[in-house]
């Protein structure tokens, strides 16, 4: 019997990799970054394909064509500095394995295509029925049945294409077309079920944002924020390296100098029509010495932002209640900062909110505000949060931006039990 020994050509150093590999490792390496916005960067799978050694995942076979293609649509509206030219066919799906390699795959493809055709025929018949019903005069229509038919038509639209491998491949690799219901569905499903929403809600609940600020929060859109990256470790580079923007994971600690400027906000919204949203940013842990408690501070408020599935980087003005950079006071525990994007009561009618003066920002009561203007975070919206602690930058912010004296908090000094003794003479 002969032993099999691998030729010493490309032996990957797997020192320390002893154990049983699982399929999940090969199939879905988790992306480092949050899920892509429509037309944003291809996932870590294809970035792994840039490494020539990886060859097993089929996405790599497709994505090696994409390896130099940056499907990225950066949030500044597609004006990348060096947009890389994409090779022909890089954005098209092709079979991961050749015909005949895996007969089960060939049969599965045929089965799926047959089923897709069947559903699409059913959808067509239903759409004709809907058109016929809509063609009737206003009074004679059966609105309930029509609504039911429309919902069923939406379900069939998604079901008719959701199993197709090319559709799934495109959705997974960021090549979505938000016009198509199935792509919107897949992107939303990914956001909801593959961990990002769960992470956000975990942080929101663990940091007690939900009972403290809101009674209920059920996000319906994916809100992603980018702030400047932390300063480099060496002082020499601090002023010499341009700070890039880095995505903020919900709940992490940021330095006040990272949040000095406005964040870059990207949203993935799952409705095609334009609706109006209000953005607000609140600090939940501003100390209130008079009441021996904490109060809130409104950092930013911008109503009447129009969002739809086709807008991934909304141009958010700073025209209403202007952005004040977070300034956690010295001596206080960490502050929680919450960014909310709430749907307005009427999706098309802009609302009038009076601009908050600087003195009115402290003690901002979110619950009263929401009740007054009809915001309900339980019905949808987007949220994000992070934490900050004091830094010397805060002193800078107080001096130059807020133009106030910086408060310094600490515990009350203990009464000195020997104060009298110290005052009296010891030796006669």
């Amino acid at each position: 019997m002969l032993a099999l020994r691998r030729l010493p050509r490309f032996t990957p150093r797997l020192a320390g990799v002893r154990g049983n590999a699982t399929l999940e490792a090969a199939s879905q390496p988790k992306a480092d970054t949050p899920p892509p916005a429509p037309r944003s960067s291809v996932t870590a799978q294809s970035s792994a394909a840039k490494d020539k050694q990886a060859q097993d995942a089929p996405e790599d076979a497709n994505a090696t064509a994409n390896a130099n293609a940056d499907g990225q649509q950066p949030p500044n509206g597609g004006k990348a500095r060096n947009p890389k030219p994409q090779p022909e066919g890089a954005r098209e799906w092709c079979r991961p394995i050749a015909k005949g390699v895996e007969p089960a795959y060939d049969y599965a493809l045929r089965y799926i295509l047959k089923d897709a055709k069947f559903i699409q025929r059913e959808l067509k018949a239903l759409q004709e029925a809907i058109a016929a019903e809509e063609a009737k005069a206003e009074g004679t229509r059966d609105e309930g049945a029509l609504q039911g038919m429309r919902e069923r038509a939406h379900i069939l639209t998604v079901q008719g294409e959701i199993n197709l491998p090319d559709v799934r491949w495109k959705a997974r690799n960021g090549l979505v077309d938000m016009n198509r219901a199935v792509h919107r569905h897949l992107v939303e499903q990914r956001w909801r079920e593959e961990g990002d929403l769960d992470l956000l809600m975990e942080r929101i609940y663990q940091m007690k944002v939900v009972p403290d600020m809101l009674p209920e929060l059920h996000p319906s859109l994916d809100l992603r924020i980018k702030y400047a990256e932390p300063p480099p470790k060496s002082n020499y580079l601090r002023t010499r390296v341009k700070r890039k923007l880095k995505t903020v994971e919900p709940g992490i600690f940021l330095a006040p100098e990272q949040t000095r400027r406005l964040p870059e906000i990207s949203t993935t919204v799952f409705h095609t029509e334009r609706r109006l949203y209000t953005l607000l940013m609140v600090d939940l842990d501003v100390p209130d010495p008079e009441n021996q408690s904490f109060t809130t501070y409104l950092h930013w408020l911008q109503p009447n932002i129009s969002l739809s599935a086709f807008i991934s980087s909304p141009h958010i003005l700073n025209s209403h209640t202007r952005y004040v950079p977070p300034h956690p006071q010295r001596g206080t525990p960490y502050h929680r900062y919450v960014l909310l994007l709430l749907p307005q009561a009427s999706p098309t009618k802009p609302i009038e909110i009076p601009v908050f003066e600087d003195s009115a920002r402290v003690g901002f009561n979110y619950r009263a505000f929401a009740e007054q203007y009809g915001f309900d975070a339980a019905q949808g919206g987007g949220a994000h949060m992070w934490r900050e602690t004091w830094d010397e930058t805060v002193s800078h912010i107080y001096e130059h931006t807020l133009k106030q004296e910086e408060p310094k908090y600490r515990r009350m000094p203990r009464p000195d039990p020997y104060a009298d003794l110290k005052r009296s003479k010891k030796y006669l």
Partner: protein, 187 residues
Amino acid sequence: MSSPLLALGKQKLSLRVAQTSVRYAGRQETGGVDPRNEIIRRALYPSNIRNRPSPVGTWRPDVGRRLQRAIPSAQAHETIERAWFLHQRHVRRARAAELQRKFESVKNAMETLRQVAPRLYVEANKEEDPRARSPAEFDLLKKLKGPEKKAVEARIRGLFPRELRIPTDTPPKNGWTYEFTPVARPP
């Protein structure tokens, strides 16, 4: 996922392998030598090949290669899985629809019966106790004895047939009955 596992998933598995001969690796048992000796020898003096899986499976370097061979493409795997679940869904739905159709059919029939012949409807709605015995059957059972009685008592419509032979450690003393004839059961 830990990064070693991810690395294992991403490793390039070369298709070219070399063969080298190894001592002790392939001794075949010759003639009437007891295979137990071979087993003992293999346990006491294991082969000196270092890239084989460890005996109890704590180290299995070939898993990646075998997985790659079994599932060459994750995308294909997902497609096949989705097709299979789709097929199962169709089968399940067809089964449920057929059952529903049958139920509706019987329900309509019973409704018709209720309108046409209420007394027969009441009779039809009576639940039958499968263990109940009619007087005629009772008399028959009094007459039968032994295996015939057992044969009649064993099978009740809708219940588990009680003719199972209890398994024993040893075979029967009398051996296998080649001349077995089933007991005639009255209809």
